[in-house]
Symmetry: C2
Subunit: 195 residues, 2 copies
């Protein structure tokens, strides 16, 4: 990336964000300095501060990319009138695609456990999302689409245990995201056992 | 823990290990020093070195507790003559119980990504375990017990995505481990959808 005062500021900020997230994931957020971010882009710290105001702003932007994708998916399924079971399945499938597409951002999000305002806000948004999933499971049980003998909160946690595991193992050569989304949905809703 | 030269060395080593793993999980392995471990036990560094020879030995013992539990479970199901699908289900259930019982050790294991000999050895044992799970899925498909339209390696990763998610959310007040093991097995083998 060349330092530029004019033109494509959005592009430059994306490049800065991508570089920062790579470093945060590799070495930890706390262990990464703004100097490290500047150095990895071969720009000066002063040029870096043309693009972003602080390390915390980079963290905020990164977790927003991850959460924004998941929240959009939740918003879209909320807008449909399909049975809750189908909406839940759609949300799971969409979430797998979001993870595959924004893997580095979600990886960072899932490691956020801290006590800064940005981190606490991200954790609160994660909890809101978890609540949407749990509520969908409950509604699907009320409608009779999902078996009544599972605890809704546990089911929601296990569903996203599968989805979130992508940050540990997903690579483009391990199947295309649509196929993985189908495998997750098949396992979760139909089960592995033949009948 | 009182420093003791005689009596219950095993107990003392367990206490040292538990304290070290708590610190490794809270602050990171690299960020934790032997001085930190000694201080958290209110013993001197010299007393600490009566119990363990190095920080790396503590890491090795900790990941061995986690991997040992999972490998024992794999060994036990290997010894039975049940259909592969039932052995896979048993292995999943047993793994949930191991995770709930050895949560701190498995939490540490799942964060191991480094390049020391101890870490590389732990990663190799994890890969061997993953291979056992994938092979069980394949065998179950050959026997016709598990649906043929899922990729065995992806299925194995998703099954352990669910199991391993316990390190993120399991607490004794969120259901007893046997009940969680049953929910995991129900979701994975029967699926959530009613029929």
């Amino acid at each position: 990336m060349q330092p530029r005062r004019r033109g494509r500021p959005g592009h430059d900020q994306d490049a800065v964000l991508a570089a920062a997230v790579r470093l945060f994931n590799a070495h930890g957020y706390d262990a990464t300095s703004m100097f490290d971010v500047a150095e990895s882009l071969s720009i000066t710290k002063s040029t870096l501060y043309h693009h972003v105001s602080s390390k915390e702003q980079l963290l905020e932007m990164a977790v927003d990319r991850a959460l924004g994708g998941l929240e959009e998916a939740a918003e879209e399924v909320r807008a449909t009138t399909a049975p809750a079971t189908d909406r839940l399945e759609q949300l799971i499938r969409r979430s797998v695609l979001v993870l595959a597409e924004r893997l580095e951002f979600v990886t960072l999000l899932l490691r956020v456990h801290g006590n800064t305002e940005v981190e606490l806000h991200a954790l609160a948004r994660r909890r809101d999302f978890d609540r949407i999933v749990t509520d969908l499971v409950k509604q699907a049980q009320t409608e009779g689409g999902i078996r009544a003998d599972v605890d809704p909160a546990t089911a929601a946690r296990l569903l996203f245990g599968m989805v979130n595991s992508l940050v540990e193992w997903y690579r483009p050569d391990r199947g295309d995201p649509e196929a993985i989304a189908t495998t997750v949905a098949t396992l979760a809703f139909e089960g592995l056992r033949t009948r």
